[in-house]
Point group: C2
């Protein structure tokens, strides 16, 4: 076994909380996507920052790779220990440490999941808005710079992490940011850590910005004659300054999958799902102004409601979108793409992508956070047909190139991991070298999640 | 003369746009605050990124310091060439390159000022919200991570810079970010550059996020029996989720100075100045809900208006605040402090600061962006009395320490420059070393704005 000395020392540190069992290695060796399984040498379950610090020091001494693990829901093979070593699973560091309602912030350990956090916050009238579909960990969400349906209004992890505590590659502990709402005191280390995918440090604590649960919420759905009409309606809504809290696009294929999966009846047509937050008067007014815009674009009458249970059903359907789409092709596995472009290019981006998929042989329903210019095609492949995986990869490749050609990014929210490494040079040019220089400065031995994000030597 | 070879080569590159005149050196050797004048060896006025690149290469070869210069309004001696060398004045790079209304973004050169930008945007129905009092350059504002009265609603430069083009210390040009609204593609180099004060690169282009000019605006002002009541009203307004576009606090001394300077009549009491953006209905409703909150705290009736000229007068008064306060003491110079704390600590922070100033012998009116927990005491000193400068520095020192003790930052928006260097270690701990390691990795010769932001060797 590789890294045997490191593992022995880690076993001394963590006792039974260092596992070398096949079952746990396998569980931490697969990803939510098409990447082949890679077994780590061991899985560690630390309980304190001090343990993480000691773990990293041991690994640094033996040059043993260290890869963080939150809920394992990332989609580009982020958490796979492709150079072996230890996977550090943060599920035992799952405490909400301090909620400060007056400051609308909270300090938590990284293993807290977004659902657990919002459950804990319920009594305070506050909530944490970033909501990737999966019940991800906040540590993992910070590391992938996750976003979701509410990002159009409340921002992504970039805007909602006030600071982190992190153990660096040499075992130093840093605390970035302060609890003040803003600061001009030097380089923005919080922003540098957010989205770094565990390649610069292991996060052991996060302080997050919270938001007040809105007094009133209105939500609704409408169908469009075609995708272009739906996207144009989104652009107009943004330009009119109507404050959307959520605005999601689903194409006809997705609408069909939703109907089959959820029982809610949707026409087989492109749809927008939207939500407004504010006072009872303002959300009614926002919904009515939105209804006028979509009517101008030939939409079905915009049905909206302020009733909690109808809203919940709508967003539950959206959050189950991935599984609804998977269910649309029996036994299929999904390859999830993640384009994000300037809003003016959105219609072109979706149209070209739909045409490209239609010309091929595998289904690829589309849905996305269109208020941010971000959408996903979920390419449904038969895992027993290697040719289908190859076709999905080609489609995904063309989507990434299309995103760059249209002035956007190869990944709006899922991150680089391994899947988007091939586009980093094209997207960032010399900036990618700069990322490598920062990585080299802060992790000269390359022990933190090696094989990801930066150029591989 | 130091750096003579570099200067000769720069003269060859720029001709008359490299000035060694005493007048221009003097103009670029002073700051808007108490720091002593430091003459640079020369002042360069490049017109293109290619010229900046060549300039940096020449300077790198000769290890000649290079310090950027926007409008020269920063308050911590940021732009002073304390190790000599060349000051690069960006006023000739002042073009708005492309406005894209559909995407609500704009690409500009760094020398464009915020007023010029908003002038240029007027016809589009869009505006750029970040507004430090001064008519600063957008390049300088990005470099200090500036914010202002509207940050509580629209964010600071951190949230409103989509990407930059920058020339690094070795002459490489990088372009950070994309025009997509969000991205998870690797380290956030845009955020790393924003707030870096010209120590990591010279910015030659910026792409900024724009916002729609709101359909309607309501603004108003009210007086409070004491500071505590005003601050509590702010906290409640935030917690109620009433979407303030601006909320500014001024203390009694500032109110007196405003009255004397502007002719608008204000009671000699703490005040809040506020503004709401939205639809005609929503801004009326917001103003009324705010009026109820402040009434509960014993405020004078909240007078508000949607009339453009009344609003303009209000905010002109606020934007002239610094000069109004300076005028309150004849011949005085201001030392401007910049605390930012969690909202729950704001009342304590202001109270302790007021008491500390009152116990001394120099005036220090207070005003600030209280929605962000950020406020300034403007310490008015007689430039002929060195003892007063010393006292102001002691007060400022205690404010910085107070900010850290209360969980905040030594600078909410002005930046580090030289004035806040002494607090970086206390605020960031090992994080400050990490900043130094990033600086070392990207500027190993230390030619970019040496003497600022990171630990000095
Ligand atoms: C059905 C479905 C829907 C999804 N929808 C969205 C969506 O809408 N938006 C979106 O952004 N994403 C979405 N995702 C992707 C995924 O949920 C996000 O990437 C999420 O942020 C991953 O969090 P995690 O806790 O699962 O992290 P993991 O997958 O466990 O880890 C992610 C990365 O972070 C590192 N890491 C984890 N914890 C730490 C730590 N404490 N310190 C250092 N490094 C650490 C890992 O090494 C890895 O590189 C979706 C995924 C699924 C399966
Ligand atoms: C009356 C008054 C009120 C103010 N109010 C506020 C306020 O409310 N909020 C706030 O944030 N600030 C405020 N300030 C401070 C000041 O306006 C800001 O710090 C502003 O961002 C400075 O911009 P500038 O163009 O003047 O930059 P400069 O002072 O010229 O430069 C600032 C820093 O950026 C560097 N730099 C400039 N341009 C470039 C470039 N293109 N590339 C690389 N480096 C560059 C310089 O080297 C320097 O380190 C105020 C100042 C005054 C005088």
């Amino acid at each position: 076994m590789r890294h045997a000395d490191a593992l022995d020392q880690l076993a001394g540190l963590l006792g039974p909380r260092l596992s070398r069992s096949d079952a746990e290695r396998a569980q931490h060796g697969r990803s939510e996507s098409h990447f082949p399984t890679v077994l780590p040498d061991a899985v560690a379950y630390p309980e304190t920052a001090a343990e993480v610090q000691e773990l990293v020091r041991i690994c640094a001494e033996h040059r043993c790779p260290v890869t963080g693990w939150g809920a394992g829901t990332s989609l580009e093979g982020h958490g796979l220990a492709v150079k072996g070593g230890v996977v550090v699973d943060f599920t035992r560091m799952n405490k909400v440490l301090e909620v400060r309602p007056a400051d609308m912030d909270v300090t938590i350990q990284p293993g807290v999941t977004r659902e657990a956090l919002n459950e804990e916050l319920r009594a305070t009238g506050l909530f944490f808005p970033v909501d990737p579909g999966a019940n991800a960990s906040l540590g993992g969400m910070a590391m992938t710079r996750a976003s979701g349906t509410t990002t159009v209004r409340y921002g992504s992890m970039r805007e909602n992490v006030l600071g982190v505590e992190a153990v660096l590659a040499d075992g130093r502990i840093i605390r970035t940011g302060t609890r003040a709402r803003k600061s001009a005191a030097g380089y923005d280390l919080t922003a540098l850590m957010v989205g770094s995918e565990g390649t610069l440090g292991l996060v052991t604590e996060l302080t997050l910005r919270l938001h007040g649960i809105p007094e009133a919420t209105s939500a609704g759905i409408c169908a469009f004659p075609d995708m272009h009409a739906a996207v144009t309606a989104v652009m107009e809504t943004i330009q009119m300054g109507i404050p959307m809290a959520r605005i999601e696009f689903v194409d006809a294929a997705t609408a069909r999958a939703f109907t089959a999966y959820s029982g809610l009846e949707m026409a087989e047509a492109p749809h927008l799902l939207v939500e407004f937050h504010g006072s009872p008067e303002s959300v009614a007014q926002d919904a009515e102004r939105f209804a006028e815009i979509v009517a101008d674009h030939g939409a079905s009458p915009f049905r909206w409601s302020t009733r909690e249970e109808e809203r919940r059903a709508l967003w539950a359907m959206r959050h189950n979108g991935y599984y609804a789409i998977l269910a649309a092709r029996k036994g299929a596995r999904g390859l999830v793409t993640d384009m994000c472009v300037p809003i003016s290019q959105l219609a072109t981006a979706v149209e070209e992508t739909q045409a490209d998929i239609a010309a091929g042989s595998i289904p690829g329903p589309i849905l996305g956070h269109v208020g941010d210019g971000n959408f996903h095609a979920i390419l449904l492949i038969d895992p027993d047909q290697p040719a289908e995986l190859e076709e999905a990869k080609r489609l995904s490749h063309r989507m990434a190139e299309r995103a760059l050609r249209l002035g956007g990014t190869c990944t709006g929210e899922h991150g680089v991991g391994m899947g988007k490494l091939p586009y980093m040079e094209a997207e960032h040019g010399a900036g990618w070298d700069v990322m490598g220089e920062i990585k080299q400065a802060l992790d000269p031995l390359g022990i933190l999640n090696p094989g990801k994000l930066v150029r591989q030597g």
